[in-house]
């Protein structure tokens, strides 16, 4: 649905050049939720703004739904943008219009007649759970409700793709949860493809099928989450499931286990104990249901020789790395 190749964006300010996006390749498949994870300043916001050409890239191509946006300008670019919805961190609602008025804006832009517009607006507000708030002004709504209006507005023109620019970063954890649920629901029900940027690990855990880790304008890694977790030294794995803690006896070896997919449901630790008659201690760890897969990481320590234990675990499909002191 979205193909980006060799994207580069440079900002020039007072003889100083800042490379915000430095050669990014990205492919988002139909109907998937793709999350770009990064610290602020990593260039993810610029990347997202390049997808609908709010920022014009200095090099590279952006193709959305088969249309190369980087080759368009004027009326044809505007037509292409109407097929891409966008949700903003600070909602970007018109303060002078009610919730219904805000949702109607994209429809007015495309020239939908008044009666059809009113029908569609009611439908959309219902879809995002704001049917009773049509006449409320943004100032009268909570953050979560404002973002729901923003999402309804982004969906008004029936987009193929939704771009989400830190949609939950300005919300409290509970509201974040409900907005993420709404996005996942829309993704399932409408088959909506979503490209989102975030600095919250939780967003990736809860709704993303694929992800990329962005740093200094580049993708450090990118792909389906289940695959990334199986990759040794994955930053995403470390970020989603941070591990810490040392063995009580410094002589004992410490192993980090990454479990992704079916292996996460196996009774590994008890089997390990029986098979090797070993003392296994869990130092840290989580196993969770992610949107993409069931996954987790454990840090364990084993008394004695870790070699056979690690070998057996690898046979079971666990990614094992020995922690070097």
């Amino acid at each position: 649905m979205i193909q980006i190749e060799g994207l580069r964006k440079v900002y020039r300010a007072r003889r100083r050049e800042v490379v915000a996006v430095d050669g990014v390749d990205l492919a988002v498949r139909d109907g998937e939720i793709f999350g770009v994870l990064g610290q602020s300043g990593a260039g993810k916001s610029t990347l997202l703004r390049c997808v609908n050409l709010l920022e014009r890239p200095d090099a590279g191509t952006v193709v959305v739904g088969g249309v190369e946006l980087t080759g368009l300008s004027g009326g044809r670019l505007r037509a292409a943008r109407r097929r891409i919805g966008m949700v903003h961190q600070h909602f970007a609602l018109l303060a002078s219009r009610t919730a219904a008025g805000n949702v109607a804006v994209p429809l007015e832009i495309t020239g939908v007649p008044r009666a059809a517009r009113a029908r569609r607006v009611a439908e959309l507000l219902d879809l995002v759970g704001l049917a009773g708030h049509a006449d409320a002004y943004p100032a009268q709504l909570s953050g979560g409700q404002k973002q729901r209006v923003g999402i309804a507005r982004a969906l008004a023109a029936d987009p193929q793709v939704l771009l989400s620019d830190e949609a939950t970063s300005a919300l409290d954890p509970q509201t974040t949860g409900s907005i993420l649920e709404l996005l996942r629901d829309l993704n399932r029900r409408l088959g909506l493809t979503i490209l989102l940027i975030t600095h919250e690990m939780d967003v990736v855990k809860r709704i993303c099928h694929s992800a990329a880790v962005m740093r200094d304008g580049r993708f450090a890694e990118s792909g389906p989450i289940a695959d990334l977790l199986r990759r040794p030294g994955s930053e995403l794995a470390g970020g989603l499931f941070p591990l810490s803690g040392a063995a009580p006896d410094p002589e004992d070896p410490v192993l980090d286990l990454t479990l992704s997919g079916a292996v996460a449901d196996q009774p590994l630790i008890s089997q390990l104990a029986r098979r090797f008659d070993a003392d296994v201690r869990i130092l840290d760890g989580t196993v969770q249901e992610l949107a993409a897969t069931r996954a987790g990481r454990l840090r364990i320590t084993v008394r004695g020789d870790a070699g056979p234990v690690a070998g057996w675990l690898r046979e079971q499909g666990v990614l094992v790395t020995e922690v070097v002191r």
Partner: protein
């Protein structure tokens, strides 16, 4: 002078002031919005960045703002003759009043539009809105409270300017206060005139405030 004569004078002055200020307010609103929108569109980072146009427009506005009104009043006399056919009288005073107030209001329009958050403009751009749609549906609409507040300030400034319209025979309350009160030492007339002006300005301000409050939804 009897009180009925004074009342007669005040009534006539009020009518003249209302006419001068009212008519030039309408023209100033149109002209100021136009110039103000053009200033914001053509600035760097605007929707239609055009440095030379912006620089020229800014210069014209600044010159207009720096000229003392009394000098502007005289300077535009040839232009006034071309537009209204005469250079004296209440209607003739509307021309310099409008020319003086447009740059003033244009700057206030510019400030009000700048108050519209950038991400709201970006959101409209992302929706595929045309420039015209962004100006109409986003910039002017979102800036409405500021635009009305600015116009209120402008109208009151026009009331002040109109006092000098007596120079070209414009009449009005300000002229009345100067001619009777100041030049003929008719203190009572001056006080009465100033009283009417205070009430007049108060009314405009209240009207503006009520309107702003109704438009303000933050």
């Amino acid at each position: 002078m009897t009180w009925s004569e004074v009342a007669e004078l005040l009534w006539q002055g009020l009518r003249e002031t209302t006419w001068m200020v009212g008519f030039s307010t309408v023209l100033t609103a149109i002209g100021g919005l136009l110039v103000g929108v053009l200033l914001t569109l053509t600035e760097r980072g605007g929707l239609l960045p055009l440095r030379p146009v912006n620089a020229l427009l800014g210069l014209v506005v600044n010159v207009g703002r720096s000229l003392p009104f009394i000098i502007l009043l005289v300077a535009v006399i040839p232009f006034t003759r071309a537009v209204v056919g005469t250079t004296i009288g209440t209607t003739a005073a509307i021309v310099p009043l409008t020319i003086g107030a447009i740059p003033f209001y244009a700057r206030l329009v510019e400030t009000a539009i700048h108050e519209v958050p950038a991400d709201v403009v970006a959101a409209a751009t992302a929706m595929g809105a045309t420039r015209r749609q962004i100006v109409g549906k986003v910039l002017l609409r979102e800036a409405r409270p500021g635009l009305v507040a600015g116009l209120t300030v402008t109208v009151i400034a026009l009331v002040g300017y109109s006092a000098m319209a007596g120079v070209v025979g414009g009449g009005g309350l300000g002229d009345l206060a100067i001619r009777y009160g100041y030049q003929r030492f008719e203190t009572e007339v001056m006080i009465a005139t100033v009283g009417v002006l205070v009430v007049f300005v108060q009314l405009i301000q209240t009207l503006g405030d009520v309107l702003v409050r109704r438009l303000y939804h933050r």
